[in-house]
C-alpha cells in the first residue's frame, strides 16, 4: 500500500475552503466515507452567513441552516458547539438548552483559515485527504483521469473518491477526444465541455498556465492578446492563443464584449465562472455586472481611440467615491453595456461628450466593490453568501417558517431539464424512424 500522508500538503485556508466546496455541492447527501469534510463545510457556510448579524434565536438559526445550507437538524448542535469552540459564536444557554446564538465571526481574519486549523487539529481521514487533494487539482484545470493516479494514493481509494465526487456533483467525468477528463463544476460551472475538450487537446498544465494569466489580468481583450502575442507583458505561444480564442468564441456562455466604431467587436477575458460554493446564485448578477465594469475600463485603458485610461483601478475607485466619471467623447460606446445592465446612466454633455453616472443601488455598489477586488487581487471574494438566507436570519421566525412551507409545495412543480438534457432530447428526435 502506498502512503497517502505525504500527498496532503494543503494549508488551513485551502482545506477548509475545499470542504466548503464539497459540502455545498453534496447539498445534504450523505457520504459514509466523509466525517469531518461535511462538518467543516457546514461550519464555514454557517460562519460566513452569520458574520455581522445581531443575536439570533437558536431555533430560527436551526431552521435557516436546514433550509438554506442543508445542515441536518440532528447535527446542528454539534456544528454550533464547534463554532463556539473556535470562538466564532457565543451561546446563551438555559441548562443544556441553547436559547440564542451571538455571532462573533471576525471580519479581518480568514474564516477559512481558522476553521481549517480546527479541522487539522481534529484530523482528516485518509479518504478525506485524497478527496481534498483531488479537488485542489481540479480547481486549477480539468485533467485527464489517469493524471489523478499520480497523486500517489492507493488506486482503490482514488477510484472510490472520484465516484463519490461524481455522485456528489462536484466532479464530472466528461469524454473528450476519446479520453476521460475530470472537470469540477465548482470551478468550471459554465462551458465545462469546452474546458474538457481543451484539456484533452492541450493538457492540464497549458490550461492552468493560461487561466493563471487571465486571472492575473482580468478582462484583458482578446484582440490585444492576438496582436501582441502576450497577456499583460507575458508572452503566449500561437497554440496558446488558439486555445484562448476558443475560450472566447466557442463558449456556450460568451465573455463580455464591447463594440466600438474605432476598435470593432472585442471580447474581454475572465477566468471561468465559479460554481455555487464560491459564487452564490443570488450573486451571479452582481458578478456579471462586475465583469461588465472591468470590460468597460479595460476598453478605455487598452483600446481607447485617443486618450487611454492610465490605471483602471483609479477609475473604478473614483466612480465609487464620486458616483460618476468625467465626460469624454468615448463614454457612450465604452459604457453602453453598463447602461443596458442598469449599472449606470449615460448623460449627454454636448458636442459628442458624455458622462457616466452610477445608479446608486446596493447591487451596483457591490458589483463595483467586486470589480475593484478582481482587478487588484484577481480573486472573487464574499460572493458565496446567499442573500436570501441572510434576510431570513434577520427577520422573525414566522418568515423562515413560511419560506420552508412554500418550498415544500414548490417541490411538486415540474422538474426543469438542463441544457445538456435538452440537447440529448433533440439528438434522440433525430433518430426517430420516419
Amino acid at each position: 500500500m502506498q502512503p497517502t500522508k505525504s500527498i496532503f500538503i494543503m494549508n488551513f485556508e485551502d482545506s477548509a475552503s475545499k470542504c466548503h466546496d464539497i459540502q455545498v455541492s453534496l447539498d445534504g447527501r450523505e457520504v459514509p466515507d466523509f466525517e469531518l469534510i461535511p462538518k467543516v463545510g457546514m461550519m464555514v457556510n454557517l460562519a460566513l452567513h452569520i458574520r455581522g448579524l445581531a443575536t439570533i434565536d437558536y431555533v430560527q438559526l436551526r431552521l435557516v441552516a436546514s433550509h438554506y445550507f442543508g445542515i441536518p437538524t440532528f447535527i446542528f448542535k454539534d456544528i454550533i458547539n464547534s463554532l463556539a469552540e473556535v470562538e466564532f459564536v457565543s451561546l446563551y444557554t438555559h441548562g443544556k438548552t441553547v436559547k440564542s446564538v451571538t455571532p462573533k465571526v471576525p471580519y479581518f481574519d480568514s474564516v477559512y483559515a481558522k476553521i481549517g486549523e480546527y479541522a487539522d487539529a481534529t484530523g482528516f481521514s485518509e479518504p478525506e485527504k485524497v478527496a481534498l487533494t483531488i479537488l485542489e487539482k481540479l480547481a486549477q484545470s480539468p485533467t485527464e483521469k489517469s493524471n489523478i493516479y499520480s497523486i500517489g494514493a492507493e488506486k482503490k481509494i482514488l477510484d472510490r473518491n472520484v465516484q463519490i465526487g461524481i455522485d456528489g456533483g462536484y466532479i464530472m467525468n466528461e469524454r473528450a477526444r476519446g479520453k476521460d477528463i475530470l472537470v469540477s463544476p465548482l470551478f468550471f460551472s459554465e462551458n465545462y465541455q469546452l474546458f474538457a475538450d481543451l484539456a484533452a487537446k492541450s493538457g492540464a498544465k497549458t490550461i492552468q498556465r493560461i487561466l493563471t494569466l487571465i486571472k492575473d489580468s482580468q478582462g484583458w481583450p482578446l484582440s490585444l492578446i492576438e496582436k501582441t502575442k502576450s497577456i499583460n507583458g507575458t508572452t503566449v505561444t500561437d497554440d496558446e492563443i488558439a486555445l484562448i480564442k476558443r475560450l472566447a468564441q466557442d463558449s456556450v456562455i460568451k465573455p463580455p464584449a464591447i463594440t466600438t466604431p474605432h476598435a470593432g467587436h472585442n471580447y474581454f477575458l475572465f477566468p471561468p465562472t465559479p460554481g455555487n460554493s464560491k459564487l452564490n446564485l443570488s450573486n451571479k448578477e452582481i458578478y456579471e455586472r462586475a465583469m461588465a465594469l472591468i470590460s468597460s475600463v479595460r476598453q478605455g485603458q487598452l483600446l481607447a481611440q485617443r486618450y487611454p485610461i492610465k490605471n483602471p483601478l483609479w477609475i473604478l475607485s473614483s466612480l465609487k467615491s464620486t458616483g460618476w466619471l468625467r465626460p469624454t467623447t468615448e463614454t457612450k460606446v465604452q459604457y453602453q453595456q453598463l447602461a443596458i445592465m442598469r449599472v449606470g446612466r449615460i448623460v449627454d454633455t454636448g458636442n459628442g461628450w458624455h458622462k457616466f453616472i452610477l445608479i446608486d443601488t446596493e447591487e451596483n455598489v457591490r458589483a463595483l466593490d467586486l470589480a475593484i477586488s478582481l482587478l487588484s487581487t484577481g480573486s472573487i471574494a464574499n460572493m458565496e453568501i446567499d442573500q436570501e438566507a441572510r434576510i431570513a436570519l434577520q427577520k422573525d421566525q414566522t418568515y423562515i417558517e413560511s419560506v420552508v412551507s412554500a418550498n415544500k409545495l414548490r417541490r411538486k412543480e415540474k422538474i426543469e431539464l438542463d441544457e445538456q438534457t435538452t440537447e440529448e432530447i433533440d439528438n434522440l428526435l433525430l433518430k426517430a424512424s420516419l
Binding site: 473528450a176 476519446g178 487537446k201 435538452t422 432530447i425 433533440d426 433525430l430 424512424s433 420516419l434
Partner: protein, 358 residues
C-alpha cells in the same frame, strides 16, 4: 478478404465510372423481434450511380467462386436483394464457367451475370480504361486499415457500423441524414482530430451523409426548383426531413412539452439550421454538381489513412469535372463539422485538404 481479386476488379470498375463505392455491407432484417439488429445477408461491393434526375441509385455487386450453388440460384438471390434494398441493378462476377441460359435468364431479372473473362470485355468496353487513376479507394490496404477502427477504438464501433450497416438499411434519405447527424453527435467526444484513423472515419461518415443530402437536394429541386423565400425553404425542408407535416407537428409538440422553457420558442430543426438552409439554397444553383461530393469526400477520407503514403490523383480528377464540386464539398463539410459539434481541428483539416486539391 474473400474473393478479393474479383472484388477489387469490380471496385476499380466503379471508380473508373466515378461511382461511390462501398465494400462488405451488412443487410439487416427490416422487422425484428430481438432487441439487437440481426444481419440476414451481406453485399460484397456496391456502388451509387446518378440517374437522369441526379438521384444516387444503388448498384449491387456480388463476387463468388461459387462451388456449391448454380449461377442462376445466385441470380435469384440477387433479384430478391434488389427488391429488398430498392436497388436498380445487380452484377454477379463468378470465377467459373456459366451456362448461356443462366446468363440470358439473369438479363430478364436486371442482373448481369459475368465470368471474370466476360467482365474484362464488358468493363473495358463500358468505361475509359485509358484514364489513369491513382485512388486511395482502390487499394486493399486502405480498406483493411479502415476496417481495424472498431478493434483499435471500441467506443467508435457505432460510427464504423453506421457506415457498414445502418446507413444502407435506412428506409430513405431523410432518415439517413438525421441518423447520420445523430451518430456523429453521439460519437463526437470519442473523436480525436490528431488520430489519422479518426480523421478518416469522420470524413467517410460525412461522405455517406452527403449521399443522403444529395438525394434531398435533388428532391427539393425537382419539386420546387428555386424556393422564393427563406421561409418557403425552411417550411418545406422541416416537413420533408421529419417525414411529413403530421410527424413534424407531433415531434415538435413532444419536444416543447419536455424541453427547457427557454427552448419553447424555437421549433424543432436540425442543428445549425440557418447554415443548413444556406447550404441547401446554394446547392440548388447547380444541384447535379453535388453528385460527386460524396465520392470526393470518401477518396480524401481514405487518403488520410495511416498506410504507406502514395501520390493519388483521383480527387483532382473528380474536382476537374465541375468547379462547384469542391465549393459544395467545402460548404457541406463546414456545416457537418459544426452540426456534429466536432473539435474544430477536424473542420480545419478537411477544409484545408479540400482547398489544396486543384
Amino acid at each position: 478478404m474473400k474473393d478479393r481479386l474479383l472484388k477489387l476488379r469490380l471496385l476499380k470498375y466503379f471508380l473508373l465510372n466515378f461511382w461511390y463505392p462501398e465494400m462488405e455491407v451488412n443487410i439487416n432484417s427490416k422487422e425484428r423481434m430481438s432487441p439487437a439488429p440481426k444481419y440476414i445477408t451481406d453485399v460484397d461491393v456496391l456502388a451509387l450511380f446518378p440517374d437522369i434526375t441526379g438521384d444516387l441509385r444503388l448498384y449491387l455487386g456480388d463476387c463468388k467462386t461459387l462451388k456449391n450453388q448454380s449461377p442462376i440460384a445466385r441470380v435469384l438471390w440477387m433479384k430478391g436483394l434488389l427488391e429488398y434494398m430498392k436497388a436498380d441493378r445487380g452484377l454477379i462476377l463468378l470465377s467459373k464457367e456459366i451456362e448461356k441460359e443462366h446468363q440470358l435468364s439473369a438479363f430478364h431479372l436486371k442482373v448481369q451475370l459475368f465470368t471474370d473473362k466476360d467482365f474484362e470485355v464488358y468493363s473495358k468496353n463500358t468505361t475509359d480504361y485509358l484514364l489513369e487513376i491513382n485512388a486511395a479507394l482502390e487499394l486493399e490496404d486502405n480498406w483493411l486499415e479502415f476496417a481495424t477502427a472498431p478493434k483499435k477504438f471500441p467506443p467508435l464501433t457505432g460510427l464504423f457500423e453506421y457506415g457498414r450497416t445502418i446507413f444502407w438499411n435506412e428506409d430513405n434519405s431523410r432518415q439517413q441524414l438525421r441518423s447520420g447527424i445523430h451518430q456523429l453527435r453521439i460519437s463526437r467526444r470519442e473523436l480525436n482530430p490528431a488520430t489519422p484513423l479518426h480523421q478518416a472515419l469522420v470524413l467517410n461518415h460525412l461522405s455517406l451523409v452527403a449521399v443522403a443530402l444529395n438525394n434531398i437536394i435533388v428532391h427539393i429541386f425537382h419539386k420546387y426548383l428555386l424556393p422564393d423565400t427563406k421561409e418557403d425553404l425552411d417550411r418545406e425542408l422541416k416537413i420533408f426531413i421529419y417525414g411529413g407535416i403530421e410527424n413534424y407537428h407531433l415531434l415538435n409538440e413532444l419536444r416543447k412539452r419536455i424541453a427547457l422553457p427557454s427552448t419553447e420558442e424555437k421549433d424543432l430543426e436540425l442543428p445549425q439550421w440557418n447554415s443548413f438552409l444556406e447550404l441547401i439554397r446554394t446547392s440548388l444553383e447547380k444541384p447535379l454538381a453535388f453528385n460527386l461530393v460524396p465520392l470526393l469526400l470518401k477518396e480524401i477520407a481514405f487518403s488520410l489513412l495511416p498506410t504507406a503514403p502514395k501520390a493519388y490523383n483521383y480527387a483532382n480528377l473528380i474536382v476537374k469535372k465541375n468547379p462547384f464540386i469542391k465549393t459544395y464539398a467545402i460548404r457541406y463539410t463546414e456545416y457537418m463539422c459544426d452540426a456534429g459539434g466536432l473539435p474544430p481541428e477536424f473542420k480545419e483539416l478537411f477544409v484545408n485538404k479540400l482547398h489544396s486539391i486543384s
